[in-house]
Subunit: 154 residues, 2 copies
Amino acid sequence: MLRIRPTALIAASFALALSISAQAAPPTKAEQTLKYRKSLYQAIAWNFGPMSAMAQGKAPYDAKEFAMRAERVAFLAPMLAEAFPAESKDVAGSELKPEMWANRADFDTKMKDLVDKSAALAKAAKTGDFAKSKAAFFETGNTCKNCHDKYKKD
Amino acid sequence: MLRIRPTALIAASFALALSISAQAAPPTKAEQTLKYRKSLYQAIAWNFGPMSAMAQGKAPYDAKEFAMRAERVAFLAPMLAEAFPAESKDVAGSELKPEMWANRADFDTKMKDLVDKSAALAKAAKTGDFAKSKAAFFETGNTCKNCHDKYKKD
């Protein structure tokens, strides 16, 4: 028979309660910000996908869908502005390289470049001209790459 | 001394390789859709927060911010339309109750209600009238609740 002392049981339930309360602890503001940041990149990437396939000739050009995806990216891009507050600097689980914080002005310029180029992409896509849309898409893609190369962990 | 047979080592590294390759397996379309779905709800919730605080009198009314958040929610809400495709039915990690799939028309009506009410909210918020904005906010919040009560796991 297994004999368990009552004190051991109390200690065990206390440890369990602690672990449950740790799990249920509300996320910090920095953790919420990181979730928001990731959700924006996720939503941008999802809408980038079909445009990328069309621009690369892997899917037939659908002007209406292309314009819809471009408009979404142009709307989502400026929302990233509030996704990198100073308070999120040391949050765990981020793919952001810490050197961004010492190069904030450069990072913000790169972010503005995404906002400007995705706005131009949405405008080009509305014309329904594939060549123009494709060129604007690759220019937008380059703004992603420029920033990721410097500030995103591999 | 611990003696390990070479075959055991090979088996162990094979298991490790398998587990690494399992981790690195690209997400399925259903898993990507679930990530996209969650990212949209996350982005909506983030922008709902400050409006909720203002509507409840927990934060001072800032007409400009309220209108910006309302516009974002109104833009994000219709994006949910492609976040519940049939292929995502059995995806793991979803908070969607399985009964939605047998009540798709009702679910879609509730989703349309969110889209309509959030569009009305964005319109009301643009006027800068707090009473109107607040009323439209609570109406939008109710469309969330109506759907969550029925189709979201606790």
